[in-house]
């Protein structure tokens, strides 16, 4: 990230901020889409996050840490969007795929469906860890810094989340009776 742009935006330079927003907007939006699993919610969250970044930029102490800081504000917006809308379970719009799945990735539509269900069962805390680590390839220490939680908490959340997703993928192997019992 161009720290000079960050510094100029900190001083209220709207053009510099526009350049920053273009540079980070896609990445932020990709993250919010993956966490919230709903395009409308994600657009709102990204928009709110970008405005929060603009508003709070002067309080950023180290411009070199802009990227991690911006993800932190994005996650706050995701939390807020989730609380505000209450559209979690019943009204989710699945994300359209821009590209077909790779041959070495998902084996079936069924896997996608199971993952979607499993992911939706996770809390935002757990989703955030999965997305930051497995989508952005952030090391766990960086995830911890971004989320402002201890690294041990991140490891625990990741373990719990991946266990849940694994269970979702394995769900088809369970007897249907298990579902009926609930």
């Amino acid at each position: 990230m161009d720290t000079e742009l960050v510094i100029r935006a900190q001083r209220g330079d709207e053009e510099a901020f526009a350049s920053l927003a273009v540079a980070v907007g896609d990445r932020l939006h990709a993250v919010s889409c993956r966490i919230l699993r709903d395009i409308d919610l994600a657009e709102d969250a990204t928009q709110q996050a970008l405005l929060a970044i603009w508003r709070d930029l002067p309080t950023l102490r180290d411009p070199a840490r802009f990227e991690a800081w911006s993800y932190r504000l994005l996650l706050r917006a995701c939390y807020a969007e989730g609380r505000r809308t209450r559209r979690w379970a019943p009204n989710l719009r699945l994300l359209p795929a821009d590209e077909p799945a790779g041959g070495d990735g998902l084996s079936s539509v069924h896997d996608r469906d199971q993952l979607e269900r499993g992911f939706r069962r996770l809390s935002i805390d757990h989703r955030a860890v999965v997305v930051l680590h497995h989508f952005l390839d952030m090391p766990l220490e960086a995830v911890a810094e971004t989320l402002c939680v201890p690294p041990g908490t991140v490891r625990s959340r990741l373990h719990h989340a991946m266990r849940g997703l694994r269970a979702a993928l394995d769900a088809d192997a369970r007897p249907a009776a298990q579902e009926a019992i609930r």
């Binding site: 907007g25 993956r34 990204t46 709070d56 180290d62 994300l95 497995h134 991946m162 694994r166 993928l169």
Partner: protein
């Protein structure tokens, strides 16, 4: 049964699918809102520059002092102040040292940086211009800070800012008080309304020394005082710019309330809250073990001189 590695591979592939581009209309909406979205200026931030060996700042300050001195010599011959830069030792009996000292009924606005001539100044607290203004008597030897309204810091003459002290004035209406000053991002928060509630919320923060809130009078208005002390046993590191990082605290900051992070171990903050109409103002006098003994009494005298318009 999926293996752990297989699950990771599938999840990663699944995450790669989907939307990645931010629609232009969202970006446009953000940019359209910028003019109506004021930035939060960091008037609560740690001050850094007054005690840093920054040649540019020193040059600017020196030039400002020279200009002011020349103007004073030209137009204010009866003012027999020294005309030189302010002494670094605060005087108990303030005397004009800069020609910037006000001589007319229109008071100058407190400068946001550089030496402040002894005299009476108008302060427009951050975010309250047009709603409330203050006047305050400032003795010699103090500096404005951080390009922010309402910051006055003592230049202790040392390179370390922990030898300084300051008073700052601001609006805390609607700000969040953290449940824990160190774990401020992960602890419950509250949004106290009014001076009494704000002081009580701060005094209730665990893990730090706090006095009982007590009633005081500020500028002739009823107010409340609470003293908070930053613990001395927190682990810190010093950044390259001299600022401190509280390494075990969220984001490396030790915070009392929204945006107010503290600058050093054993820092004492005397918060004076006062309600002015629907707003709650705070006067924060803060000092450190290394602050000059004369600094806090002078800051208290400044507070005692405050008048609210």
């Amino acid at each position: 049964m999926s293996t752990e590695r297989e699950t990771t591979r599938v999840v990663r592939a699944w995450l790669e699918e989907g939307v990645t581009a931010l629609p232009d209309r969202v970006l446009d909406a953000v940019l359209d809102q910028l003019p109506a979205t004021p930035q939060r200026r960091p008037w609560w931030r740690a001050w850094r520059s007054p005690y840093m060996n920054n040649p540019v700042r020193i040059a600017i300050a020196a030039a400002a002092v020279l200009v002011v001195a020349l103007v004073g010599y030209e137009f204010l011959p009866s003012n027999t102040g020294s005309g030189g830069p302010p002494t670094t030792t605060p005087s108990a009996a303030p005397s004009p040292t800069l020609a910037a000292a006000p001589t007319s009924t229109v008071l100058p606005t407190l400068p946001g940086s550089g030496p402040i001539g002894a005299g009476k100044y108008t302060i427009f607290p951050d975010g309250l211009r047009g709603y409330v203004s203050l006047t305050m008597e400032v003795p010699a030897g103090w500096e404005g800070c951080c390009a922010a309204p309402g910051w006055i810091v003592y230049n202790g003459g040392a390179s370390a800012w922990l030898t300084g002290a300051a008073i700052l004035v601001g609006d805390v209406t609607g700000l969040v008080v953290y449940g824990d000053s160190c774990r401020w991002q992960s602890s419950p928060t509250s949004k106290p309304v009014g001076a009494d509630a704000f002081a009580a919320a701060l005094a209730a923060q665990p893990g730090r020394q706090a006095s009982q809130p007590r009633a005081v009078t500020v500028a002739g208005l009823p107010g409340v005082h609470v003293r908070l002390t930053v613990p001395d046993d927190l682990q810190t590191t010093t950044q390259s710019d001299g600022d401190l990082t509280f390494v075990d605290c969220d984001a490396g900051e030790y915070r009392s309330f929204d945006g107010r992070h503290h600058q050093g171990l054993s820092q004492i903050d005397d918060f004076y809250f006062v309600d002015v109409g629907s707003r709650t103002l705070v006067f924060d006098i803060f000092s450190f073990p290394g602050s000059p003994a004369s600094a806090v009494p002078e800051l208290e005298a400044m507070l005692a001189s405050v008048e609210i318009d």
